[in-house]
């Protein structure tokens, strides 16, 4: 939806690019910190060594800094896509280019999206040009309720996309989970409980824990990722999960890895919250929660964050009968920590719509009966909100000091439809905003051929 104006020509960002050591000061703009506080007019943002040094009013410009005049512009942290499948697919319907799910793999929870993420996929360049700088990337389920482990990535034009590998395990416990588990929600729940017990029952190799290893065990490099995978691990014959899958669930069980659970129906949400009574260490994040407003008090009391679609308002399934665009606003009003994501909504390519969606949540505030978000809450729902939901609020999602320097300059209100992106920095590195779409646009400014066919046009 956003513009792709190229301000800085000639930047080619292929191959690893180190964080810029240069100090940059962006001055005079309307600065949005991204943490829910109000925008600051005439603010300054200072970036050095890939991190935010300071942002706000009365921030001094360090000597020697490159100064960028942003008067009349808005300066914000980059958008964080709270739920996506960006980088996992080039063309959805072209199976070989699509790594979202593994329909015939013997593995489930052990799947890790990191090797599949392609930092040069078109969707990353297109989304970056629209001001999206980070994304939560999840695999999808196929034959199990466990999709595998998702990552948090940056959308920079280099070959190092991973911000946090194996940030979470993603599971389905609603209609999709029922189908994945053999046909019922009850089966999905028993599958989950069995899996967590299989993970609990995994025994480390004798002297295990990664320090002392039994004689003749596999060489250390094979065990580096997760000691529970080791060949010396004792298992019962009576198991459903592969050793790899069970081992992958140990950090979930121990609360060292987040568990993102997709459910929509109010009763399903309560069942997920109840899991914490059985498995006390689980760190759950709800994904979806279209009917969350119906049980918002319970979600808030459980202190479980939610990553929700902004605008679901159709009873698209029987688990979304109470869908309303007020869902996010009502949950937030009840004290739930809510961020926006793209759940089963063009999540591989259209995360750039998040700013439009957030704007809509501001707009409904003027419709009687609706509960929307304030502008600053709405922006936080696509910046610091998702960062905090996945445990990275200290690293990304805002312009607070010390955060990674993901900065966007917009030519107007970033939630407004007419606004375009003028410049993007990721980890302090100024980004190229061209992509296939901008190149096609330039080629076909005039549809008719000239002296030579379009394919020969000089650039």
């Amino acid at each position: 939806m956003r513009s792709f104006r190229l301000l800085l020509a000639g930047i080619a960002l292929f191959g690893a690019v180190p964080a810029s050591a240069q100090t940059v000061a962006i001055t005079g703009g309307r600065v949005v910190i991204g943490d829910g506080t109000e925008p600051i007019d005439g603010g300054t943002v200072v970036v050095r060594d890939g991190r935010v040094v300071a942002a706000g009013a009365n921030v001094a410009v360090p000597a020697g800094a490159q100064v960028i005049d942003a008067r009349g512009k808005w300066v914000t942290p980059g958008i964080v896509a709270g739920f996506s499948r960006i980088g996992l697919v080039e063309v959805d319907a072209v199976d070989p280019s699509n790594d979202i799910q593994a329909a015939t793999s013997p593995f489930s929870a052990a799947i890790d999206v990191v090797p599949a993420i392609n930092p040069q996929s078109s969707s990353i360049a297109v989304s970056r040009a629209a001001g999206v700088t980070r994304a939560v990337v999840s695999p999808a389920t196929a034959r199990s309720i466990f999709a595998g482990q998702g990552a948090v990535i940056d959308l920079g034009g280099d070959m190092n996309p991973i911000t946090r590998a194996r940030a979470f395990q993603y599971i389905e416990l609603g209609e999709d989970g029922a189908a994945d588990a053999g046909g019922s929600r009850a089966a999905a729940h028993v599958l989950l409980r069995n899996a967590l017990r299989e993970a609990r029952d995994l025994r480390l190799p004798i002297g295990g824990g990664g320090r002392g290893r039994p004689q003749g065990a596999a060489p250390p490099e094979d065990l580096a990722e997760n000691p529970y995978i080791g060949a010396g691990t004792q298992r019962s014959d009576d198991v459903l999960l592969t050793r790899f899958d069970a081992a992958a669930l140990v950090p979930v069980l121990q609360g060292r890895q987040l568990l993102l659970v997709h459910v929509e129906r109010a009763s399903d949400i309560l069942q997920v919250l109840a899991l914490k009574r059985e498995f006390a260490n689980l760190r759950i994040v709800l994904v979806g929660a279209t009917e969350g407003w119906r049980v918002a008090d319970q979600i808030a009391a459980a202190r479980v964050p939610v990553i929700a679609n902004a605008l679901n308002d159709l009873p698209a399934t029987f688990e979304q009968l109470a869908a309303t665009q007020s869902n996010v606003g009502r949950m937030r009003e009840a004290g739930v920590q809510v961020a926006l994501g793209m759940i089963n909504d063009d999540e591989a390519r259209q995360v750039r719509l998040l700013s439009q969606y957030a704007g809509n949540l501001v707009g409904i505030g003027r419709v009687p009966g609706h509960t929307g978000l304030s502008w600053s809450q709405a922006f936080a729902a696509i910046s610091s909100g998702p960062a905090e939901a996945v445990g990275l609020g200290g690293e990304i999602g805002s312009l607070r000091p010390g955060r990674r320097a993901d900065v966007v300059i917009w030519d107007g209100d970033p939630l407004e439809l007419s606004t375009g992106v003028e410049a993007v920095w990721i980890d302090g590195v100024r980004q190229d905003l061209t992509n296939r779409q901008t190149r096609l646009r330039e080629r076909y400014r005039q549809p008719q051929e000239g002296a030579l066919p379009h394919a020969y046009e000089p650039r």
């Binding site: 319907a93 072209v94 078109s122 089963n344 909504d345 707009g363």
Partner: protein, 465 residues
């Protein structure tokens, strides 16, 4: 994924039916008895009647007239279901008219969506409701989308309340080369589809190019399995229609063929052709095919590559109905650009913003706003009021209802939206929506908020949506 579902899912779901009779349209066997009576000019006729209205005047509003005009401090008067007057602050207001102060608000014609599957793929999207693709043969011009429409689809009400949609065309899906007849509806809750049919509106004929037909039937080892197969089977079918028309001319007792009747009516211009076609090269082939057989294509739908052939579209008088920014969900959508709509407009062709989606139809104004902004950034200066043609007179013309609706001309149906701000802004929603002068949505009045039969007694019944 929603895009993918709309474009592909329906076609892909039903491979289990592959063993059904999948031959082309067959002419009636020789010796079939002649028909006992003549065909009705319009079977399944509209029973829609405008709801009661009161004379209403909106004053002080910014008016986009839907044809490119703009009036500041404008007044519009609705009476007896029709637009009675449009003009400046000195426009006379009949005595006793309900007056609405439009200060800070905008008035536009009701939004028209030329491409929807509401009712045919309704919510909830369960298999039992999947009624948009007669996926038993690539040639199915005998099916009519209106015979699949479930009037209680909750999506109609969302399109009204959030999108200001007053008229929409329901089309069959794109699994088949000849998908069947489309129907144009008034966006009013009704017990029957006839109660929604736009009186007098011509029906549509859905054609599909490209990936969907060849994938669906090629995977059954059946024609078409390629794009050249698509074209060959289309040509063979049109030729059969030409011969059938000639037979009927010579002998009025020729046995009726429901499939070929649709094609003959399309060749005669009584049915307007709506052609799902993404790629520029395929659109050019379809324009040649239209010349070969003497039909006219009203509109290419989805038309992701229309920007590559804006000149051809203009020369042929064919509209392009487009999304603002959908892309990449399949190979033929790979070359999408955000500036497609403004580039087509700039080429002098007829540009339309369409939805094809139960969510997108709630925000067509926002789709137009994104497209016009992207156009301006590449130097194509189109005003907001001219861009509103993409949602109003252009789709009305594509549907053959431009004399009845699609702009705020005196005498047209009073299909009007009062927006609570600039409708090109993300922060704006419909405040009130009138169909034929009848107030059918009012954001301040919960009693003017339709609740479908399906939603009665369910969680969220009657809630804001």
């Amino acid at each position: 994924m929603r895009a993918q579902v709309a474009a592909l899912g329906a076609a892909a779901l039903l491979f289990g039916c592959a063993n059904q009779g999948v031959q082309d349209v067959r002419p009636a066997a020789e010796g079939t008895p002649p028909p006992q009576r003549a065909a009705s000019a319009d079977p399944y006729p509209s029973t829609y009647r405008p709801y009661p209205s009161v004379p209403t005047a909106i004053t002080n509003a910014t008016i986009f007239d839907g044809e490119g005009g703009r009036i500041e401090n404008g007044t519009i008067v609705l009476a007896e279901g029709r637009i009675q007057a449009v003009g400046g602050p000195d426009t006379p207001i009949p005595e006793g008219a309900t007056r609405i102060d439009g200060q800070g608000r905008w008035v536009t014609p009701g939004v028209i969506d030329v491409h929807s599957h509401l009712g045919d793929y309704p919510s909830p999207g369960v298999d039992a409701h999947s009624d948009g693709n007669e996926i038993t043969s690539p040639v199915r011009p005998e099916v009519w989308a209106e015979h699949s429409v479930w009037p209680h689809d909750p999506g109609f009400s969302r399109a009204l309340a959030n999108g200001g949609i007053t008229t929409l065309q329901i089309l069959p899906g794109s699994a088949n080369l000849f998908g069947g007849r489309g129907v144009t509806l008034r966006n009013v809750p009704a017990r029957t589809v006839q109660g929604m049919r736009f009186p007098g509106a011509p029906r549509g004929l859905k054609l599909a190019c490209g990936e969907n037909p060849k994938r669906v039937y090629g995977s059954r080892n059946q024609m078409p399995g390629t794009r050249m197969g698509n074209v060959a089977l289309m040509r063979a079918t049109w030729q059969r229609a030409v011969e059938y028309r000639e037979r009927r001319r010579r002998d009025p007792n020729t046995a009726r063929d429901m499939a070929l009747d649709t094609l003959v009516e399309a060749m005669d211009g009584q049915i307007l052709i709506h052609n799902h076609c993404y790629r520029a090269d395929e659109m050019a082939i379809m324009l040649d095919m239209a010349r070969e057989f003497g039909f006219r294509i009203s509109t290419f739908h989805h038309a992701v590559e229309a920007y590559k052939i804006g000149d051809l579209l203009r020369a042929n008088g064919t509209c392009a109905a487009m999304w603002s920014d959908w892309w990449g969900f399949k190979m033929e959508a790979y070359d999408a650009i955000n500036e497609n709509v403004p580039l087509v407009h700039q080429a002098g062709a007829c540009a339309i913003v369409h939805s094809d989606d139960a969510n997108g139809i709630q925000r067509l104004n926002q789709e137009a706003a994104k497209a016009v902004a992207d156009g301006r950034r590449m130097g194509i200066q189109i005003s907001d009021e001219v861009a509103w043609r993409w949602l109003a007179i252009n789709p009305a013309t594509a549907l053959g209802i431009q004399e009845e609706t699609g702009s705020l001309r005196v005498g047209k149906r009073a299909d009007v939206v009062l927006w609570n701000g600039n409708p090109m802004s993300v922060y704006t929603r419909p405040q009130q929506v009138w169909l034929d002068g009848a107030l059918l949505y009012d954001m301040n009045d919960p009693r003017r908020r339709p609740v479908s039969d399906f939603e009665l007694g369910q969680p969220g019944e009657g809630d804001v949506k």
